[in-house]
Symmetry: C2
Subunit: 290 residues, 2 copies
Amino acid sequence: MFLVEVMRGGEMTKEITSLQNPKLKDAIKLKERSAREESGLFIIEGYREIKRAVDAGIHLQTLFFCPELFLGVNEPDLLKQITAAGSELISCSERVFTKLSYRDRPDGLVAIAIQMKYQLRDLIARLADKKTPFLVIAESIEKPGNLGSILRSADAAGADGVIVCDRCTDIYNPNVVRASVGTLFTLPVVEASSAETLIWLRSKKIKVVAATPSAQEEFTDANLQGPIAIVVGTEQIGLSELWMKAADKQVRIPMQGVADSLNVATAATLLLYEVLRQRKAPLHASTFLR
Amino acid sequence: MFLVEVMRGGEMTKEITSLQNPKLKDAIKLKERSAREESGLFIIEGYREIKRAVDAGIHLQTLFFCPELFLGVNEPDLLKQITAAGSELISCSERVFTKLSYRDRPDGLVAIAIQMKYQLRDLIARLADKKTPFLVIAESIEKPGNLGSILRSADAAGADGVIVCDRCTDIYNPNVVRASVGTLFTLPVVEASSAETLIWLRSKKIKVVAATPSAQEEFTDANLQGPIAIVVGTEQIGLSELWMKAADKQVRIPMQGVADSLNVATAATLLLYEVLRQRKAPLHASTFLR
């Protein structure tokens, strides 16, 4: 009933059929970083991602939807939830929606959301009740898909948060949102400089473990228990001198074949799950990094 | 000197400046699967990938190159090596080359190669001297990037080969080649049906370990020693009933956050490195799967 009313373009909703509509044009502009930074807004596409954002309390400014493209049966409930939260709903023709979507197979839902902009101090609240903080530092990752995958793995391995240092891609890039499958909204993700992050980690007594091919110790032999921040660097050149020097421990992932590296998100996942494994079944009687 | 001669379009090389050139058009067609299947050829782009192919004995039919786009200093040596192997060299203008390239930042090298077409029986020779075979089965993977990443991780973790069952994407897709960073050429990669693969694994006494979220046992608790084939399934629905039933053991990757799955290539990597870890430092005194 609700959906029918929405689709009719009743009181509660607007309808767009023209590609020249200014709201549509503004939304499309958010695919560009400059427009995201200027407006403080970003795009979330897809049922799963939007649902996770709304459930996590992210405020949506606008929801564009196209019922002809809906894939499931839960969309009307989500539309209700979003309407109740005070967001604007805009119904689109398929032609208009396709212009806005960045997916191969759009599912009829694109939201414009307000950027969260967490700071390092916001992480403190989250970490307050954690005896052994578990963080991921992603330094200057270039590809949005890699950064999103790191977030997805951080969520899966039970990390408490991710700090994106000296960013190359911004965390609000649509492909970060997509590759994170919405974990961007449930995991505290902070953008900060490497310098301030290092000072902050030191003040919290969180040890820094850097992944680098030049390390002696393999990651599964290293003691990764205790308060820890796993640091991974750019796809092309790895970690900066700053992080390499600051690391309390350097570890490497063994490479048995012809290739000399793994994808950065894959490497991060191996390290994060090794932390999880050691937390579940401690191998080392010693405390961390005596 | 050699490069200068090649660039001049001397005896040893041809030159293309027209987008209508039939050789160029045939090469571009190889981006489509139908053309790859009809011709038995495929495209390899990039210095690193082509070098790995040539070193691995893959026969190149043609090399298209554009010296203006070269990034390094080793390209002339590679051109010499390819010429010596009897392949045709074709120099291209930047405009022509860009049409052929599928990369954002082309490095001036695209090869047309003859498909390897390994069979299960070819794996036997490779496994003959292995006391404990270590294989990866990738069932019906849809995204070329994921399949390529699985190959890259299989190489890194020291697997003996990969069997691509009931393929969705073919292993000669340019994005498989790219994501594999050339490990497609150094690792035995076989395409086969699930049914014949299962019979073959049984005959070799190789145990099948399936990764599935519904398993009881976590992958790091399971004994993954002994002759093993790690099986992963499609991005959307996971492993087929056939493989789930055939598995000697089912294991799951713990998920601590809101997301209910990892990327299939990431999941495969975790399992492969767990096999490697257990081979290096056996935790279980027992033999595999009593």
